[in-house]
């Protein structure tokens, strides 16, 4: 029997680099987007590398990966990569392979695009497919929203890049907190306490200290050590559930989604910023979450119509002001929009500089 290998780390990336990349590594000179989903990088040596970007649902069956591998073999000398937003990139050196490749991709029901000033794939998480924490599904909403927005994936018809992300609970796996539009699974109720099992599965002092609002206190229930939750102090963050399986938050009646806007990650032009609350709550409505689709569609539309060239969602809103954002989108402004967490005061308007909205 062979020795059990451990701690070997990932394979060296050089093994997987196409020859054109190895030869021109660090020597790329410029790039051009040739058409939606297709770009070329030109090296100082004059060598060219063509990239065709294909949308992916991220959740892939092995058969689909094999199909992708086949395409890479046929058109790309067997080389390909995935992007940081889970799209597939075919890496070609022969320009004449581009259109046949795209033909095969489309024939199999996949699409290409996501480059330049477009909407790329929605970064997302597990949802009901795998996670125990989720307040909503991930893949289903992503599919419904992208079906609706796919023209903006396949075309470069937007003022700037628009990055949408989805996380199925407040743990916010992915970078949803810094997205142009973030779709966030949101609980609205304190945890249910399963007093029967709590003492067995959880360490009570850990549970108590896990709560950021000090809403959890030790308590004896039916003679058993357990905890109680001061419901009015609970903000449904789920941190207790992470450390204690006997305090689930999910609730078929009251779980749903909140929508956040105006975050970004890049340092281009403006500095990175967090997404801000647009819509505090939309109930779950599977299989296609039409209210969420509609809400995202509306925000994208209003932005696309009003923003200047290169203006990311958040930069646009900062220019026009939040009152105007709420007016243009027709979204209701509520007390939930006003921060009441740690740095709340810094989000109050501490200036008399003000635009008065047209009276309607």
């Amino acid at each position: 029997m062979t020795e059990r290998l451990t701690d070997i780390g990932p394979p060296h990336y050089e093994k997987f680099l196409p020859p054109v990349v190895k030869e021109n590594y660090g020597k790329w000179k410029y790039h051009e987007i040739l058409k939606p989903g297709v770009m070329v990088h030109v090296s100082e040596s004059g060598a060219k590398l063509f990239t065709v970007r294909m949308a992916s649902p991220r959740l892939l069956a092995t058969d689909t990966i094999r199909w992708i591998a086949d395409l890479a073999e046929k058109y790309c000398g067997g080389y390909l990569r995935w992007t940081s937003r889970n799209n597939v990139e075919f890496l070609l050196t022969d320009e004449s392979n581009i259109d046949p490749l795209i033909g095969e991709i489309k024939k199999n029901g996949f699409i290409i695009g996501g480059m330049g000033n477009s909407i790329s794939n929605i970064v997302h998480t597990q949802g009901w497919v795998h996670c125990h924490s989720s307040a909503t599904d991930a893949s289903g909403i992503v599919k419904a929203v992208m079906d609706d927005l796919s023209q903006h994936f396949e075309n470069m018809d937007l003022p700037g890049k628009l990055r949408i992300a989805l996380a199925c609970c407040l743990n916010m796996c992915g970078a949803v907190h810094c997205s142009d539009i973030a779709i966030l699974g949101t609980h609205q109720r304190p945890p249910r306490i399963e007093h029967d099992t709590l003492d067995k599965f959880c360490e009570i002092p850990n549970v108590v200290s896990a709560c950021p609002t000090a809403a959890i206190r030790p308590a004896t229930v039916d003679g058993k050590p357990s905890v109680e939750v001061l419901e009015e102090n609970c903000m449904y963050c789920g941190n207790c559930y992470t450390v204690c399986p006997s305090m689930p938050l999910n609730n078929a009646e009251t779980d749903g989604i909140s929508i956040w806007v105006g975050g970004k990650v890049s340092d281009a032009r403006s500095i990175p910023k967090f997404s801000k609350l647009a819509i505090p709550f939309i109930p779950n409505n599977p299989p296609r979450w039409p209210e969420v689709v509609e809400a995202v569609h509306n925000i994208v539309d209003v932005w696309a119509k009003n923003a200047k060239k290169y203006e990311r969602m958040g930069d646009w809103i900062e220019r026009i002001g939040w009152p105007e954002f709420f007016r243009l989108t027709g979204i209701e402004f509520t007390k939930y929009h006003i921060d009441d967490f740690k740095h709340a005061g810094l989000s109050f308007k501490r200036t008399a500089q003000m635009r008065h909205l047209p009276e309607e």
Binding site: R4, T6, D7, I8, P10, Y13, K15, F16, V21, Y25, W28, Y30, H31, E32, S56, P57, R58, L59, A61, T62, I65, A69, D70, A72, G78, Y79, L80, R81, W82, S84, I111, T125, H130, C131, G140, K143, A144, S150, F153, N171, M172, C173, G174, A175, H177, C178, N206, C237, N250, A252, D255, S266, D267, A268, R269, P272, P286, P287, R288, Y310
Partner: protein, 400 residues
Amino acid sequence: MADEKATPLLDELEKGPYPSFVREIKLAAKNNKMAAGVLHQLEKSYRDKIGYWKHGGIVGVMGYGGGVIGRYSALPDDFPEVAHFHTLRVNQPAGWFYTADVLRKICDMWDKHGSGLTNMHGSTGDMVLLGTRTEELESVFGELTKMGFDLGGSGSDVRTPSCCVGPARCEWACFDTLKTCYEITQHYQDELHRPAFPYKYKFKFAGCANDCVAAIARSDMSFIGTWKDDIQQDDEEIKNYAKAGLDIQSDVVENCPGKCMTWDPDNMKLTIDNSYCLKCMHCINVLPKALRPGKQRGVTILLGAKAPIVEGALLSSVLIPFYDIDNEGLDDLFELVEDGIWDVWTENGKNRERVGEFIQRVGMGNFLESIGLEPDPHMISHPRDNPYIFFDQEDEEEEA
């Protein structure tokens, strides 16, 4: 209970132009019971508007404390195929490059030992193998290592580092993101596989301020490429852009956050006061043939990003304004990380306290002192505006 196998709700999500995850699950379900199980449990979730997974226990491969997320169905009687449904996080190659060959091998292995379902990739960057049983874990691990792959992180350890495509394809990479990512990953194999920290610690590497891997938002230690000297400028190409109809004034100059550009339309001459340039990349993004990052390149290293749990989300903030990483190498950095940051954080951090929260609790000034770095005004957006200074007793003695 008409047709046990019917999935009318999920079927709705096979419609529409965007590639469908339901199609993927069904594809796998043809030959794989676990995939079928997840399909049907998911249909029930769609019906009931709630997830049916239980909190995972501790499962894993021998000698590793991370890399596997345990997962059990909450309804094992109804969906026995997914009674166990653990995922493996497989450390991706830097930059997510693959060959057709290696992908096929992984697929074959996963059809044999798992659900045939994957995430390409997880949000941290791993290849996520979605769903298998506890007793399969060792076999999967054995076959993976034979192929040259290893598991990534989970729990309170170093998490799988990831990087942008960088010099492999991008003309703007200010340092070798793939090499740095690879070397740091290799160097921290032990920390990656054996959780020993107060909480997770993520590394991400972006070749320039465009930050195509969202490093500043979601890695405890974020490396972002930058430069010190002047933007490389090709005046002829600028003229070409202008002649081709690009409005240099409104598209480039007026969007410059450093407010350091002027455009002379008569002579088609763009002037950059590079001493005020913030290395934001915007002008370079718009004029890729004409402008390029300077030649004196390196990274800005930032610390502390995380998602909101518990004290609110954080973005990384500047720790080392400039480091010529490609030339000076990683040794000094390893020392700073291990003997500085991790030492202090592991010693003094509370359970489940990310390094960013830790710094806020103990104070950046104290933190810098404890890791032996000098305070630098580049680390702040502005000095304190409250008068609550904790003066050192020593200083006072001197001053008195």
